[in-house]
Symmetry: C2
């Protein structure tokens, strides 16, 4: 798995979380992939549960921006911001995601490092 | 495991990598803990192999600085710089480490995200 391919998948992921369907996001994941967002929450491991998770985001007026990405071996770590609008208010969360990839470049695990107490802000 | 305790251990780790003995660094780890540095290298899983790894750093003239740390659940992600002197030259590497902790606050795994091609510089 090349770092260029991993980088491209990370960029697609952040774009799709900001403007894609839940199906398009989940298509980046391998079968049986796990999502723990934020770390400490229940681990999701079925396509259905991933569609539910990303479907909740996809229903919002939203935008995303990739801040930085670092890659080594099968792993990417990256920070992005997700801004959502709810009525007159906007909220921004800035997770750092840890993603591991299989040899086909699909995501096999995503663990999101963010704390609702400090990393979620009204803007 | 509280995030305050994890943060304190991360700060101790970076300080000890910069100015401590290999034994003091390895004492932060649980028995059977794994170290993969950088990700893609062989995974070290014995105390002896961890002492060898940190002993190589401890033999150098060096300093460290913690850039930032983010914590969620049992996991910390942090960036630090390690500057080493070799004759007239100094080198700086800036890894992002992913650490998981057990309930006693000991490190159970460390995976370091850095690429010798881009994250190691002569300064």
């Amino acid at each position: 798995m090349s770092s260029e391919k991993i980088r491209a998948t990370v960029e697609s992921y952040v774009e799709l979380v900001g403007a894609g369907t839940a199906e398009a996001v989940v298509d980046l994941f391998a079968e049986g992939a796990t999502v723990e967002d934020p770390i400490g929450a229940d681990v999701r491991s079925t396509r259905e549960s991933l569609l539910e998770f990303y479907g909740a985001i996809a229903g919002l007026e939203r935008s995303t921006s990739l801040s930085w990405v670092r890659i080594a071996g099968d792993t990417a770590v990256f920070e992005f911001s997700l801004t959502t609008a709810a009525g007159d208010a906007s909220f921004q969360v800035t997770p750092i995601d840890i993603m591991r990839f299989d040899d086909d470049g699909r995501v096999v695990s995503m663990r999101a490092v963010w704390d609702p107490a400090t990393d979620l802000k009204q803007i």
